[in-house]
Symmetry: D2
Subunit: 337 residues, 4 copies
Amino acid sequence: MIVVMKQRATDEMVQLVASRIESMGLKAHVIVGTERTVIAAIGEKRNGEQETLSGLDEVDKVVPILAPYKVASRETKDEPTTVRALDLVLGGGHIGVIAGPCSVESEQQILESARAVQAAGATGLRGGAFKPRTSPYSFQGLKEEGLKLLAAAREETGLAVVTEVMTPEHVALVGAYADVLQIGARNMQNYHLLQAVGETDKPVLLKRGPSASIDEFLLAAEYILDQGNPHVVLCERGIRSFETHTRFTLPLATVPYLRERTHLPIVIDPSHGTGIASLVPTMAAAAVAADCDGLIIEVHPDPAEALSDGAQSLTPEQFNDTMTRCRSVAEAVGRTI
Amino acid sequence: MIVVMKQRATDEMVQLVASRIESMGLKAHVIVGTERTVIAAIGEKRNGEQETLSGLDEVDKVVPILAPYKVASRETKDEPTTVRALDLVLGGGHIGVIAGPCSVESEQQILESARAVQAAGATGLRGGAFKPRTSPYSFQGLKEEGLKLLAAAREETGLAVVTEVMTPEHVALVGAYADVLQIGARNMQNYHLLQAVGETDKPVLLKRGPSASIDEFLLAAEYILDQGNPHVVLCERGIRSFETHTRFTLPLATVPYLRERTHLPIVIDPSHGTGIASLVPTMAAAAVAADCDGLIIEVHPDPAEALSDGAQSLTPEQFNDTMTRCRSVAEAVGRTI
Amino acid sequence: MIVVMKQRATDEMVQLVASRIESMGLKAHVIVGTERTVIAAIGEKRNGEQETLSGLDEVDKVVPILAPYKVASRETKDEPTTVRALDLVLGGGHIGVIAGPCSVESEQQILESARAVQAAGATGLRGGAFKPRTSPYSFQGLKEEGLKLLAAAREETGLAVVTEVMTPEHVALVGAYADVLQIGARNMQNYHLLQAVGETDKPVLLKRGPSASIDEFLLAAEYILDQGNPHVVLCERGIRSFETHTRFTLPLATVPYLRERTHLPIVIDPSHGTGIASLVPTMAAAAVAADCDGLIIEVHPDPAEALSDGAQSLTPEQFNDTMTRCRSVAEAVGRTI
Amino acid sequence: MIVVMKQRATDEMVQLVASRIESMGLKAHVIVGTERTVIAAIGEKRNGEQETLSGLDEVDKVVPILAPYKVASRETKDEPTTVRALDLVLGGGHIGVIAGPCSVESEQQILESARAVQAAGATGLRGGAFKPRTSPYSFQGLKEEGLKLLAAAREETGLAVVTEVMTPEHVALVGAYADVLQIGARNMQNYHLLQAVGETDKPVLLKRGPSASIDEFLLAAEYILDQGNPHVVLCERGIRSFETHTRFTLPLATVPYLRERTHLPIVIDPSHGTGIASLVPTMAAAAVAADCDGLIIEVHPDPAEALSDGAQSLTPEQFNDTMTRCRSVAEAVGRTI
């Protein structure tokens, strides 16, 4: 890392900081500039040296050179990772599509959803059984009953079940029914939960927190990878910006940017990313053109009757049109869907 | 709530939506404007009607009239709540000060910290035993050993111990040592954790998530209150904005704004709110002038040696000066500290 | 508009506010809810009534029903507007591509750029002669000399010249050379400048300010339209969010969202939107899949030698590949480029 | 500056970049790390070298060491600058207060405002004659007539007139009446305007743009200073963040942060910073506790009748109370007001 000294730092102070760096097992290389002195610390590690040095009085700032994540990095593994669950394939030139309702509401609703999204070409079925809701007064999901209904829908359609787990003690229960464990955006930095799913061998769909930087996102993935589970899928679902006309701001540049840094597959969620059903079809197609490895889209047999997220759910017919558009674009950019 | 129809909505569509509203047990009141029709839904509740209606095709938008939280609201309880733990008093015209290191690192470090902050006038001792760290490679805290050291520091000084709990299964353990349970910003929407601390009768210091709206913040408090624990303290610790020169952006207007809406005490964390030790003294004083009920400040016997957050930690001497400044300002605005 | 009274508002207060509304020439319609009273003000205009009412003590908030812009709205003119300048066509199912260097640097540089982008399929040539630069010490453009070089490049290639005008007194000068006047993001709310270009009959490319809401963006367009110039093109070039890994955050959902509200053509600038050349090709293709009417892309014969924006400029070869990708995607979504 | 090479950069590439640096008249110092190579460029200037180098293919990123501004920097002039206009004194331990209506509306309104704010202790009078309004349909100010009314109010009260100038060609006109020229937030990067006020010798109150970084803010000041006008006052008036409960987010940490970097006086605008009159008194006091050099506050004889910004204007009585609170806090922190 590079340690930039304050302008008024004396030679003695520079020497003090250099010694401090050496005491961390790094090599200090002092460079005297015309207005400032900087010290290059060679042999950079990733356990808090930066933080410590930036706390020193004589130091103006510390600039890290290395990315803080390791296992997720393309510098560690350049070859792209493909994650599979039943027929759902994310990565390796193939775009996997996960679709279904926000919440599992009833047997009929989930079965109808599953059939519709499968007919349109999805290979994964989404549906929340344990629902993180902003208000304690909102519908909180059918819980284990919901998981059973998801399993029944898989039984009939063969779709891989993708569903959220909210707390470490539910990992075993949800894992008994799900094919892919979803970590919601609110839990992206719930480290005990990340470690708990990291101890399983189930694929994990990790959603980016709405104010997480890319480094924080990859470090959250690193918590899972570090426990030995390599099947991590990154999901961009929109960030919180000053924009209020959409529910979140969906930055598709995340896809090519992550691609340059990580081998993990990247999925886009245009439903939460916009919060408005009429914007989903174009944004799904745009995500495909941006080279994503998968899509996760909310579809409900009757959005107006949905117990949650009705405003951003597509009807089966709209989803079918969206798939048609996405398939054309995928073909145009040399990918399959 | 107010349902705004799309411009092109026909009378028939308006009737359909009105019926839908009536079917929810609300009264629909149609108002035909010169360019748009709106429907007032009277008898508004808080279980998702808004979401459902905003998903209807003919509807442009739905505007809620009521705040989504109840128990936290001054409309429910106008009298300010005071939260106490040993000699730490937050609210009721008194500003309680919680200070100490980011993490508990050793017996000597925490005892020295406790003595110093007590001497300067703090009545609460902060210190992390279970540490949520962005990177899995950073120091994760001394865990139960850290809790024991905090208890020893309380034994000696009488300071109330404020420490973070990260996951529901640790609530009993942390609660056995702590006087105040802290919920970190990353866990503000970890609902199982909120419910778990809501089931205790310990005071809870709930930190605002860096991208949480005020409504989301109060709804998180509502999760705790709804379980029967009324001892909730709200803590503003900075939001994530485009600013990068400070670690977070600290919006002190949160204090008077929350004051108008909730009876719960409001604490400011100028350490995380700025991330830079030299900005903490003025921002602490500003928080007092903004009428906060408490402060939580990072103090370390030797910030340059801190295992975490060194850059934002005050030395005991700087903390002492900060207390002096805050005390003068408190007096100037008619409060005690 | 809807005026929401404070909870404690008495009947008398409600009557006062209602009278105030009537005194504005609107009809007040009082609706008594179970917890709050609201007043619908019928006949809403757009000259500040909302602001005035929201300042009243008894009023909790005022919710506008109508969009604040008129001429730009699809409610005024549903048919999409196509803007043309020489062979550059933006809108009507056709995607116009404007490309070229950030700044005009020399005759050779601009001619080489013009030839290269034309060969790849662009019909507009961008290039700054008057450059708004963050620092007074940076290269400020060749000024009128730059305009002459742009005109020379048009002479040879037939490309429409798109260049920025920074201040009202330059409108005539820049207009004498340019085919399209560009208003930069920093000047989106420079109202005298908007009015000055509104008085010409030149097409105007209006860039969204990095923190402008969609309403503010359309109101800026309204300033131009209101002067009688209907040839306005809206350009999304990225917003300022907490993200720092890209120069700005490029929200492509702007395209379908604007499409629902305005008849004006919508152009995307993936160069400023990302600030990183390697992200431009995918984001350009994504913009096409999101149904934009045009692209504006920075291309430089030798980005490493560029006097400005080198990091986000494509080489001619990269631009050619980008056009190939965009053309395939355009075809896939039924558009021409 | 520090140039960080990509991981895969060969020795040859490193040499190429080093030569490039040398060709800019800088000294290149290559440091080979364990995972990366970095090059320190010594003799850093501020004219775009960073931008150019960051565009090179082999380069991962470029980290500037020096601040991009010079004249505004405390490294150039450590002694704080005091700006004066009549009895208005900003800086040097004194807090100057500028107050008055958003817009000048009538002779009676501005005279009444002037008398009231003077009585409460203000020494500057604000009031817009040329008003930048988001919508072309809103009240645009009384223009020259407004300037005359401001001058009349000064005549009677002796208050220094602070009013906005929106475009270069109005600088002479506004300057003929005003004591302090205000540059509005929307025009912070209107460089021709900055240069035009820089050519005068009038004090300039420069408002921070709502999405401007601190460096951009200081560089805007630098445009004025660079023309030879040293009387620049920086005004923080709130940034655009995701928060919508206040009009803007007011980051008071701007005050101590700027203080460490610049000698220019720093004023806070709690009226625009919050947009809600009831939050202004506490935030004004907080700004004083944060060590600001001045306040600018909207006061209107009858906010409910204001033609603009009524919701954030104080009544004369509320302003008087605010001044009392601020005076106590100023005294507590050793300043005068």
